[in-house]
Symmetry: C2
Subunit: 413 residues, 2 copies
């Protein structure tokens, strides 16, 4: 890869050749992929991008850690819509607000960006099998993207995994191993199996390429905004890989001269599980925390990319905001009603955070904000049912309808 | 609208000025929108389209029944991916097969195309409210697209409507009226309410503009194929509006010279509810049928656009194929495993039909086929759970894993 220099440990600084099966540093630290920006700068310009018809995450291949001969993966990952939301901006008291709906990715989540990258790298490594342990969007996106590419997947889930999620995995042809035990026991068995059979490892804590897939969300936001950086980009934070990828993407664009200033990050976590935001406020490194939130995709008490996430938030002079489950549910309704966007609870946590920061007067009429929706609401209909209350229920009779409207205070236009 | 001549009854031929609130003919017949193709031909060429950056259904506005000043609706509807599927084509014995995944529309269904059109026409009519009666994708797509445009919706559902679907509607801010009665009673109350309050009517049987939104799926398929028509396009058929729209789109392209031959249609219905396909086989007009299928989005025993659908299938010298619920479930697994595409049961019925026609030797090595997926599998996870069986369940122990693989006949690569 001409554009990549090496992988470098974020803890001890040691460097490694960027082979497709790169994992962690011998010191245990996570690796980061380091690029040759001077070289990339010569080839990747706004004009070159404006001519390009590819409208997926692979549009930005000069900035991605893949060989020049590597084909885009089959599913259409990325280039999700960025919606300008003037009505919601006015309601919240912001100068301008955009919503990036990454729930419209092929398996319904931003995680498709990381899984597509894993598939591309597994192909480069000559692997026929990819494995991971997860119950959530990482697993379904891996299963879907691998199936489309003709790769087999082995996915380890704890036995408490919801049946619907397991069904999606199995529909994509994954071999699903349901482990009668905790998530830690599940992870440990997957580790042993991956070592034993040499499967390609899709694990955001171990594989440094995955956040390189996620960073494409930053490229798209900025290109969709005509390379005018917003003041803030808000995103929900679980294990930290996504916000770290977002920041890497922004820094890439700055390094190659496509943007001239960096937005600040807004890290939104659930009150009941906010180890990264707690460290932002208190200073120092993060400490494990309990996982008390219904927003399952960000209920991560031991964030495996916590260090990278903290570096990102601090470097960007970012804001940390925690929201309650109730505020998340309200944000789901707010985005639905105002924007026609249906996000899963973790997916709308960023919007809940933006709303709260507006109410606290921290964001206001001077600020422009992008809020990223990271997952589709159809992934978790059960919680939407709890959030939205009951419909009007009546017999099929006009007088009953008139009475019901009157009782509910509905004045028909 | 300079490009539209008038609305014309498909039964008696009577014409009507194409006002935004056009409904049915005085004779009861459904209207069709008639265009001035000679005029359109001058302006819409392959070169003009190739230059256009809009990648939604509104890309084709010269062929759409909207005023020149009408803005595209806010959500990104259309321009869904068309995937080339060489491995599945080989498995089925086809020359070439593509899958068009319309489940990646904003609310997860092809119906978004019709609802976005309804929103555009409601705005032209100066309406602030749109209404319909439906329990399915028509309702959720209307609620989502209207919310994004700042329009209110009133949606009437029978009380048996699944809670998850009602929750999606309410998340989009729709006023949902749950009617304690049959679908017919629900429809009747909605009719009275629409008449009383003058709401804009989103009902595919009454509003002739909706199939004009759906026809954009044909434009995209052909443009994505570089204007080379496939031999067949397969689609699932419920009330008939979608296949009629698809055919209208193909004929439009032929009329303005963008394609030089017309594909044949494949109408796929469920064995337990196939009034339109039965009429194709028997000749004559369609007769009502019971609704015995789990593919709820096409369980339509009294197809309200049955006449238009029959005309389309016959004009195209199309094929009619019925599939069992088991065959639909198998097709869901097949598309998931082979293509990484997760469709709802009605959404994969076309693929089930194509597979069956291959097995029967009606389609084979000479034929190129596009199969349209009309809805996202996340809309109906309950049925996917039934289709996919149980995962391997073991304690967190390597010996248990080895035994389980051996017992299941899994040979790890």
């Amino acid at each position: 890869m001409k554009n990549v220099k090496y992988g470098q440990c974020i803890k001890c600084g040691k460097t490694y050749p960027a082979t497709p099966d790169l994992t962690t540093c011998t010191c245990g630290g996570v690796l980061e992929i380091v690029y040759d920006y001077d070289e990339i700068k010569k080839r990747l310009t706004k004009a070159v991008l404006a001519e390009r018809t590819e409208r997926t995450m692979w549009r930005y291949r000069e900035l991605l850690p893949i060989e020049e001969t590597t084909e885009p993966t089959p599913l259409r990952v990325g280039w999700s819509p960025l919606y300008d939301e003037p009505r919601l901006a006015a309601q919240l008291g912001l100068k301008q607000l955009w919503v990036k709906d990454d729930g419209l990715n092929p398996t319904g989540a931003l995680k498709d960006r990381a899984s597509a990258m894993a598939v591309a790298k597994a192909r480069e490594a000559g692997a026929g099998v990819i494995a991971c342990s997860s119950t959530g969007n990482a697993a379904s996106s891996l299963a879907g993207n691998a199936a489309a590419a003709g790769l087999a997947t082995y996915i380890f889930v704890p036995s408490r995994a919801p049946k619907g999620k397991v069904a999606q995995l199995m529909t994509f042809g994954a071999t699903v191993i349901s482990v009668q035990g905790s998530y830690e026991e599940t992870f440990e068995l997957s580790r042993q199996a991956i070592n034993r059979w040499g499967w390609y490892n899709r694990n955001a804590a171990i594989n440094p390429y995955l956040s390189e897939g996620k960073k494409t969300v930053a490229y798209e936001i900025l290109e969709q905004l005509g390379w005018q950086a917003p003041d803030y980009i808000a995103i929900s934070v679980g294990d930290g890989c996504t916000i770290a990828g977002l920041w890497k993407g922004l820094k890439d664009l700055h390094a190659v001269g496509l943007i001239d200033r960096l937005p600040r990050l807004i890290s939104a976590q659930a009150e009941g599980c906010c180890p990264i935001n707690r460290a932002v406020v208190r200073g120092g490194s993060w400490e494990p925390m309990e996982e008390n939130t219904f927003a399952d995709s960000i209920a991560v008490g031991v964030p495996r990319n916590g260090d990278k996430a903290l570096m990102a938030i601090r470097e960007s002079q970012g804001l940390a905001v925690n929201v309650s489950d109730r505020e998340i549910m309200e944000a789901q309704q707010l985005l639905g009603r105002s924007c026609g966007v249906f996000g899963e609870p973790a997916g709308v946590t960023a919007a809940a955070g933006v709303k709260k920061l507006c109410e606290q007067g921290i964001l206001g009429r001077e600020e422009t904000v992008v809020s990223v929706v990271t997952g589709n609401g159809l992934k978790d209909v059960a919680n939407a049912i709890k959030a939205c209350g009951e419909p009007i229920s009546i017999p099929g009779d006009m007088n009953a309808l008139l009475r019901a409207f009157s009782d509910s205070g509905i004045v028909v236009e």
